[in-house]
């Protein structure tokens, strides 16, 4: 594949007498966010729905074979980080006013979208935290917001990279760490946090975008006086119950509700010290944007003991069901269940396994899977599924009406390593066993059944996160990849492979598309490089 370096071309195109390069002029109107993204990709999911569906059609099923790399930006000057020998781009790139923002832990880059020229770079020196990934920035007016591994919210000038202010919201010594992209809605910067090594409670913060002042905090486990405490043996256990909020949620402007997925319960694998359902860990929760008050919850994995870490995107979409228009939210949960809920009430329409599993005895009246205790981690070992999905984003295509997810089918043996009455931390471990199969699935959210599947052939077991996010477009394309460094474009309606290309690493972050100078671009990160594709000139 020929790479066309357009650094010079961009200068020529800028026109006679025009400055060879104009200074960035990023200014994102918060009111404009939420509309289908066309000339920008201003949020983690492009809009607030989590659909990762683009209305663009210039690249379509009949010309997709012509697309070619226009530039590749490689991170060359960041060395090994703790636990990461080479940089891996796990962010979804953000594009506003011709400027692309990408991140890895501790670093932000602003790139000119036409040339990939570096406009500025921001480097942070962390004092702790876990450098496992960084999902990207948030933008509000002329500000960019970035979360550091050691839990600082940093506001930068979007045009210069100059730091405006910073605010610490969690203690890295308690093993809180941050990898998320802040979600910005109106005058709220919504910040989630990770960290499950030391039995700390999860929370979600809302900050003022101008000053960094805390507006509200929502704790993902209940405190004194809350009726949800009956799902915990006592308050002191709930206060150490986990439920991290480390992936960006979604938002419905009409209902003014945030939809947030909450992570695994603590202690992670040893559940004997916390009998009960352990609300609101392992749930999808609906929170009022302006107050952070809980409107409803649906717990996907009551009393989780398998690190099912329910952080896959809750996707918002509307459908007519039995003749009535319904506002819905769907999630391909990491515990192997696909769920579709009414997003006004939280009541379930569909809860159904989408990978082979046998650890539940049925559903509760509320539709929540009932775990079989014998499948809990044990001293002698207990076989159960690997995470069926993970943080890489799924997609919903309103034209096909299908949810697309890269799923993992496979098993692990889970051992209890702390069989005391008062376990702490992980308290257990898991080790994969047998073959792991990755399967791209097109799931009808009104039935939970797959309309088509594509099994990726591979002899090597993939990590549950290898294999990237998904993007669908109005021209019928589904863009994703396998775990053998192939970028693959499918026909979204039937799963036929239309195009593929092997790059140097697996696609590792979010895939975005946008119009720039009359051309549709497809942008994705793979390992240490960011690739920009379009049709040839």
């Amino acid at each position: 594949m020929k790479l066309v370096h357009v650094l010079c071309g961009a200068v020529v195109l800028a026109g006679f007498g025009a400055p060879a390069f104009s200074a960035p002029d990023v200014n994102l109107d918060p009111q404009s966010v939420g509309a289908p993204p066309i000339a920008a990709w201003p949020t983690f999911n492009g809009d607030y729905t989590g659909q990762r569906f683009s209305t663009l059609t210039q690249i379509n099923t009949s010309n997709v074979y012509q697309i070619a790399a226009q530039w590749v930006y490689k991170i060359t000057d960041v060395g090994a980080q703790r636990g990461a020998p080479v940089p891996v781009i796990k962010c979804t790139p953000i594009l506003v006013d011709g400027v692309i923002y990408i991140t890895i832990p501790d670093h932000v880059w602003a790139l000119d979208a036409r040339s990939a020229k570096e406009l500025w770079r921001y480097d942070w020196v962390d004092h702790g935290g876990h450098l496992v990934g960084q999902r990207g920035v948030g933008v509000w007016k002329t500000n960019v917001y970035f979360l550091t591994p050691d839990n600082w919210l940093i506001a930068l000038n979007a045009n210069t990279g100059k730091e405006l202010w910073r605010k610490n919201y969690a203690d890295a010594r308690k093993q809180y760490f941050s990898t998320s992209a802040p979600l910005i809605v109106k005058n709220h910067v919504i910040v989630g946090v990770g960290g499950d090594a030391m039995d700390m409670p999860g929370f979600l913060d809302s900050f003022d975008p101008e000053t960094g002042a805390l507006q509200w905090i929502w704790w993902s486990t209940p405190r004194k006086g809350d009726s949800a405490l009956k799902t915990w043996p006592k308050e002191s256990v709930s206060e150490h119950g986990g439920g991290m909020t480390w992936m960006p949620g979604t938002y419905d402007p009409q209902l003014n509700l945030l939809y947030w997925p909450t992570g695994n319960t603590n202690p992670v694998f040893a559940g004997q010290g916390r009998p009960g359902a352990n609300l609101w860990t392992e749930s999808v929760v609906a929170l009022d944007l302006d107050t952070g008050k809980l409107k409803w919850y649906f717990q996907v994995s009551p009393h989780d003991t398998h690190d099912f870490d329910n952080t896959t995107a809750p996707i918002l979409f509307d459908r007519v069901v039995d003749g009535k228009p319904r506002k819905l939210v769907a999630q391909a949960a990491r515990n192997g269940f696909f769920l579709t809920l009414d997003r006004v009430t939280g009541k379930h329409l569909v809860v159904k396994p989408y990978v082979p599993l046998d650890y539940t005895s049925g559903l509760s009246p509320e539709g929540e899977p009932i775990p079989i205790p014998d499948k809990d981690p044990s001293v002698g070992g207990s076989i159960n599924i690997l995470n069926a999905s993970n943080w890489p984003a799924p997609s919903y295509d309103p034209q096909t009406g299908l949810v697309y997810v890269n799923s993992t089918e496979g098993k692990a043996i889970y051992y209890l390593t702390d069989d005391s009455a008062k376990p702490s931390g992980y308290g257990g471990t898991g080790t994969g066993i047998g073959r792991t199969t990755r399967v791209l699935q097109a799931i009808d959210p009104l039935t939970g059944g797959a309309v088509w599947k594509h099994v990726y052939p591979n002899l090597n077991s993939a990590s549950t996160t290898v294999g990237p996010s998904i993007l669908t477009t109005a021209s019928g394309l589904l863009i994703t990849g396998d775990d053998q460094k192939n970028v693959i474009i499918y026909s979204a309606d039937n799963g036929q492979i239309l195009w593929h290309l092997q790059v140097t690493e697996n696609e590792s972050g979010g895939i975005i598309t946008y119009m720039l100078d009359g051309k549709q671009w497809i942008l994705f990160g793979a390992g240490d490089s960011l690739y920009a594709y379009s049709l040839p000139r």
Binding site: I383, L386, G425, G430
Partner: protein
Amino acid sequence: MRRWMLVAVLAGGATTFSVAVRSQEGISGGNTQNGASTQQPNRQPSYSNMTPQQRAAATRAFLGLGPEPDKAAAARGAPLYIQSCSFCHGPQARGATAPGLITSDEVLGDDHGEHLLLFLRKGRPEKGMPSFATMTDGQLTDISEFLHQQVEDVANRGAYHVLNILVGNEEKGRAYVQANCMSCHRTETFAHVGSKFRSPDQLQRSWIWPSQSDNAVTATVKMPDGSVLSGRVQEVSDFRITLIDSAGQTHSIDRGPGVGVELKDPLAPHQAMIMTLKNDDMHNVTAYLETLK
């Protein structure tokens, strides 16, 4: 921030590994036959080949857990802690009538006693915690290291160990093997199997999912011109298959139109077993095989 200087030194060295459970990323699948598709280049010993000490150190650096507790001091501190602290704070400092200490600000804000000593000398009389000023600095340091060791034991999952996994019934295990395994295997297959692995959990893992190198997937590839290639598969994707034929020659074949690929997996019966294996049967068979020394 001395704690961070130490971690930075560790991180600069060798942390090319994948923790058994990477927070936020989940457990990896079980089959790492070729190791070819790992996302990160593996120049360092893989996590599964590390010594327990290497694992603990690598995980500590990866998680940013700070300096390693002084194990000898912690051992000296254990009886002092049991005598003076465990009644209120629990034998492992996880709380009893008084709060747990392993997530407390006082313990986590301390590296090697420099803050805790001052705190322990004073106590917290307003909450009923006495002063320990009568103890020597050495004793208080040892108690501090004991507390840091309790944190390490919980937070550093690279230092976790499986317990005694031999919980099954040998006789039932023998019956399972007779009923389910002998259509493919013979008695000799299992001779001395109990002495071939370094631990019962390795034995358990290995009988369920045996070595890949002895059980390679093979393929028959029909080329568009009608010729046929066959051999041991190195890699396969939607677009390419790489195999080694019986003469040792490597063939990399694009899976274009007219190319037919048929894979044969000798471990398919084991994969089918994994998908339905009951925990009791697993424990029983492991207990039985462990007796075949």
